[in-house]
Structures are given as C-alpha cells and as structure tokens.
C-alpha cells in the first residue's frame, strides 16, 4: 500500500461526498479567510500610515523650543538657521519654523472655515515638509526678512476658493489678515478637506500678527537621508544643549522616523494578535473536521472491516483516513486563501484605495496551519478506525 494509492482513494471519497466534503471544509475556509483578511487589513492600515508619513516627509527631526525671553527666542532662530545651513550642511538639507494654526480663509465671496492648516515657515518650509511648487514662486528669503504679506497655497484651497481662476497675484484673507498668493503647491494628499492639500504657508515673521508673539516655538530640521538621522540628532542636541541653559528655557527633540517605526511595530503586533484571534476560527474548523471524520468512521465501519479482512494493516487504514482529513483541510485552506485574496483586494481598494495583497508569510502559515489541523484532528478518528476488529466491523451495517 503506497502513498499514491492512499491519495487516489482519498480523492475518490472526497469526490463521492462533494457536499459533505465542502461542509467539512467550511470551518477551515472561514478560518483561513478571516486570518488572511484580518492580517491584511492591518497590513493595509500599516501601509496607509507609512504612506501618510511619507507624504508628510520622512527624515525629519522636530524641535520644540520654549524660551522665557522673546528676544532669546528670536535670536535662537538665527543661530539655529546658521548652524544647520553652514555647519551641518553635510547632514541636514534645511530647517524651517513649524508653527501652525487654523482659522477662516476667505477670498471674494468664498470662505473655508477652520479646516485648513496654516503654517508659519521660511523659504525652506516646502523642502522640509515635502511640498512641491506647481506655479508661481515659493516663500523667499526676502519675504521672511521683510515679513511680507504673501502665502503659498495648497491644491484644496485653490479648488475651493478659485476654481479655474488663476490664484497667483490674488489676495486672500486669513482671519482678516491680507495675504498675496505668490505660489501654488502640487496636490499630494488627494485635494480633500483637512488633508495636507488644505494648507497655506506664510513667512513665520508674520507670527506677531497671526499668533500674537514673536517667539519661534517649533522647528523642523530635514536630514539629507535616513542614515544621517542619528548623527544629525546628536549634533542638534549638543548644539541646543550648549546654547540653552536652564535659566533661558528648554527644548525637546523628536526623531520623526522613530515615531513612524514605533507605529509600524504597534500595528505589526496588533496584526499578530488579530491573527491569533482569527486562528481560533481555524481551530474550530479543525474540530468540525474531527466531528465529520468520526461520523465517517462510524458510517464506514463495514468498509473498514472489509479492508482489514482483505489485508489492510492498521497503518494503511490510519494513512487512508489521515490523508483524507489532511486533503480536506488542505483544500479548505486553498479555498480560504483564494477568498482571503479576494477580501484583501476588496478591502484594500475600499478602505485604503491601494492594491493590497496578503503577505507571503501569512498565506503560507495559514495553509500549513490548516493542513496541520486536518492531520491533528484527523488522528483520533483514524486511530479509532484502524483499531476496529475485522469481524466486528464486518457485522456492522
């Protein structure tokens, strides 16, 4: 009795009892589908967040600064600006203030209430935050120095306030502060309300008029690449530590890449937990297989008796039943994987608008797990079948 024969026999029995075989597999199908589906949704969420961080701009260090004296705060800008752009030119590509606020933006008869983010930056703001200029010009060094009433606007603002009209040279009002639009950024976040395209940027030197203070309380420093982040962080930390003592104020540095990685780790462990929960469904599917296999053994007592009478060994009977349950669960696993792929594609499209596919490891793992379950839960019925006394089994009907 070789394995090939056992496989042929198993295929034959599964085919004869198509409906029952399908019902038996159902538990495994649902289990595998939900494991793959859940883990993939988490993976989509993760990719979504990563994408968000990438749009925001990666390789950034945020600096938050609290100075007790306004003039110290203003002087600190010049020091930091010079340090980053001269001494750190190999590590950093730019630095910009990063204060933000919100309010009403108005042009002609159109207004946008409170959804927009209003940034106060310098001529390196767009570089630091991944905005690309589409038309007009960016905030210039001169604009910053002279505190010009100018701004660059995001694509959502253009769409909402100007429609097809050219916004360059027009004047918009931020909480009644007039600002001349000098440039427009490319869309980068879907041109929707509250997105990164719902934003305007003006020289930070307007902060007295906008925020009522001359203090510069937040900066973004952009690193040249990911590998320079640690060195940049250390340098900045040392620099600020030397310049700011406890009597003047305090500062805090945040590596934004680490934030992103932490959120990656968080979703990874969350998806593991969800995967584990879903595998309980798989386990239940396994119990379903055991149940059906036990019924099968009872139903086929006579067949087992005949097989034993004409020479089947215990091993042959066990092999036959194990292959049968293993094949049922493998088949269920394959169908579950197909459904898992479909669900993942649908969810990816609907929730995150991306082509999402289950990861290879979760596909392989759930397939292996379903086979293991089929064999594991098939073992008891198989052993039970093989232990039947031939004469007793033959008398059964």
């Amino acid at each position: 009795m070789n394995l090939l024969q056992s496989f042929k026999m198993a295929v034959a029995t599964i085919r004869i009892n198509k409906v029952r075989s399908f019902l038996t597999m159902l538990g495994i199908i649902i289990g595998v589908t939900s494991v793959i589906g859940l883990v993939s949704v988490m993976q989509g969420y993760n990719a979504d967040i990563t994408q968000y961080y990438e749009k925001m701009g990666v390789n950034k260090i945020s600096v938050s600064l609290t100075m007790y004296n306004f003039s110290d705060s203003v002087k600190m800008y010049d020091k930091l600006y010079e340090y980053v752009n001269k001494d750190l030119s190999g590590l950093a590509s730019g630095v910009s203030p990063a204060m933000k606020t919100s309010g009403t933006i108005q042009y002609g008869s159109g207004t946008i209430e409170d959804t927009s983010t209003v940034y106060l930056g310098n001529e390196q703001f767009s570089l630091c935050n991944n905005y690309d200029l589409k038309e007009g010009r960016d905030i210039s060094y001169m604009d910053v120095q002279s505190a010009n009433h100018v701004c660059v606007i995001g694509s959502y603002i253009v769409q909402e306030l100007f429609g097809y009209k050219n916004p360059i040279g027009e004047t918009i009002y931020f909480n009644s502060l007039p600002l001349k639009v000098v440039g427009v950024y490319y869309q980068k976040d879907g041109t929707t309300e509250s997105s990164m395209d719902d934003a305007i940027v003006m020289p930070y030197t307007l902060n007295k008029e906008v925020l009522g203070t001359v203090a510069v309380s937040a900066y973004t420093v952009k690193s040249v690449d990911a590998t320079s982040m640690t060195a940049l962080y250390t340098k900045l930390n040392a620099f600020l530590d030397a310049k700011i003592d406890d009597t003047m104020g305090k500062f805090k540095l945040t590596n934004e890449n680490t934030e992103m990685e932490a959120s990656d780790d968080e979703t990874a462990s969350l998806s593991l937990v969800l995967g584990a929960v879903a595998s309980i469904a798989l386990l239940v599917g396994g119990i379903g297989i055991m149940n059906i296999m036990l019924v099968t053994v009872t139903e086929r007592t006579r067949e087992i008796g005949i097989r034993k009478a004409i020479g089947a060994t215990r091993k042959a009977i066990i092999t036959q039943f194990l292959i049968e349950s293993g094949m049922l669960s493998a088949l269920g696993g394959i169908i579950g994987i197909i459904f898992g792929f479909i669900i993942t594609l649908i969810v990816g499209k609907a929730m995150y608008d991306m082509i999402l596919l289950p990861m290879a490891w979760i596909t392989c793992a759930s397939f292996a797990f379903s086979i293991a379950i089929g064999i594991g839960f098939g073992l008891y019925p198989a052993i039970k079948a093989s232990g039947l006394q031939p004469v007793v089994a033959l008398r059964a009907d």
């Binding site: 006579r302 067949e303 005949i306 020479g311 215990r314 091993k315 006394q389 031939p390 033959l394």
Partner: protein, 230 residues
C-alpha cells in the same frame, strides 16, 4: 500441518442469559492442499469457524495454529499480513465496497499486497474472466445483480492467489449453471495447490469436496473423506 485447531470455543455473552456457544470445543486439522467442506444447518457455527480460521476473529478459549504458529502470539500487523497474503475470503454477504467499482474492488487486496499497478491489472482481468464478468468491470456493486456481486467477490479472492481459499456459501446466490462454473473454478484452484475450505449447507455442493466436516450446534459431529463423505 497447515491448520491445527485445538479445543476451540467461541462463546458470545458468556455467563449471561443470552449466552451463545457458537463453537463448543472444536478440534480439527487441515493439511496443505486439502479441499474441505464444512457443512451444517443455519446457526451451527460455520461462519464463526471460518472467521477464526481466517484470523478475522479470535477464539474465546482454545488454540489455533496456522502453519504451526499460535495466532494468539501474532501482532496485529502479522495478522494483517496473513489475511493479505495467505487467505482469500469469499464472504457469505459478498462484502464488496459500495463506493468502488468491480475493478477497484478486485484490485484492492492486491494494493494491500503491494503488487505493482501493471501486474494488478492483469490479475484483475484474469479473475474477471474466470467469473465471466469481464465486461462489467466498471459497474458499481449497486449496479450488479446479487449473483454478479457474488462473482465479483469470488474474483476478488481468486485474484489474490492466496494459498488458502475460504468460501462461505459461494454459490448461495447463483443459479445452478453459474454455481457449477464457480465450483469448477474452486476445483481448479485446488488442483493447482490451493487449500480450499468451503462452507455450505448444501449436501450436493459438499459432495465435490474430498473431505466433509459436519458441524452441529458448535460441535463437529462427523469428519469423513472420500466418496463416502456425504
């Protein structure tokens, strides 16, 4: 000696009110190449005896030596090997597997004997030819008449080329012509060296055997050879 049965009992529900002494102290020797008919009325213990001889069942008491080995001392795997290689069964109730067609039913014991596929094919068709059902090889048991099922069951036993053939009422479901054909097949097998143990309640059938053992209520009441057997 091929078969040596010493004072064998098979008692069902011993000590209870519904106790049945299916075999009540049976002793019998059968040598290689013999053709033995076991005859007796219904319920006399014939099938029970055959099950024990074929290692499908174990006696309640007593010893059974097959080729001088006490079967009590054999493992489950040994018993499977005996059933596979030494004994060909023709059961009273055909015992075909309903989900397999005629060909597959006959092939099954050969699979358990680990015979390669092409040799199995030849053996199956040869056996089908012998029982005259070659053209029915794709039919399932439910698509065959009782007599045809019986003949497939006989073909299954013949195909194994086992040295011992045990047939429990093999002609019970057959008309006299097919019955005679089957009896001729058994005789041929015996001539080519097989040991035949034939169970029947029909004196006419038993007369074909060289030796007749008569069972009654679990006892052997006569054991005779030659022309005077019946």
């Amino acid at each position: 000696m091929l078969i040596r049965v010493k004072d064998v009992y098979k008692i069902y529900n011993e000590g209870h009110e519904n106790e049945v002494r299916a075999l009540d102290g049976v002793s019998l020797n059968i040598d290689y190449g013999e053709y033995v008919a076991i005859i007796g009325s219904s319920g006399s213990g014939k099938s029970t005896f055959m099950n024990i001889l074929g290692c499908l069942d174990v006696p309640t008491r007593g010893e059974y030596f097959l080729e001088d080995v006490n079967v009590k001392e054999l493992t489950d795997a040994d018993l499977s090997r005996i059933r596979s290689l030494k004994v060909g069964f023709i059961f009273q109730g055909y015992n075909l597997i309903s989900t397999l067609n005629a060909y597959e039913n006959i092939e099954l014991p050969l699979i358990y004997q680990n015979i390669p596929a092409h040799k199995r094919r030849d053996a199956v068709f040869e056996a089908l030819e012998r029982v005259g059902l070659k053209e029915r090889y794709l039919h399932f048991p439910s698509q065959l008449s009782g007599g045809q099922q019986q003949r497939i069951a006989i073909a299954r036993a013949i195909a194994t080329r086992a040295p011992i053939m045990m047939a429990d009422e093999p002609t019970g479901a057959l008309d006299s012509k097919t019955g005679i054909q089957i009896m001729e097949t058994l005789e041929e097998l015996n001539k080519s060296g097989s040991t035949i143990i034939l169970i029947t309640h029909d004196n006419g059938i038993a007369a074909k055997a060289k030796r007749v053992v008569r069972l009654s209520d679990g006892h052997i009441i006569s054991d005779s050879r030659g022309e005077t057997a019946v």
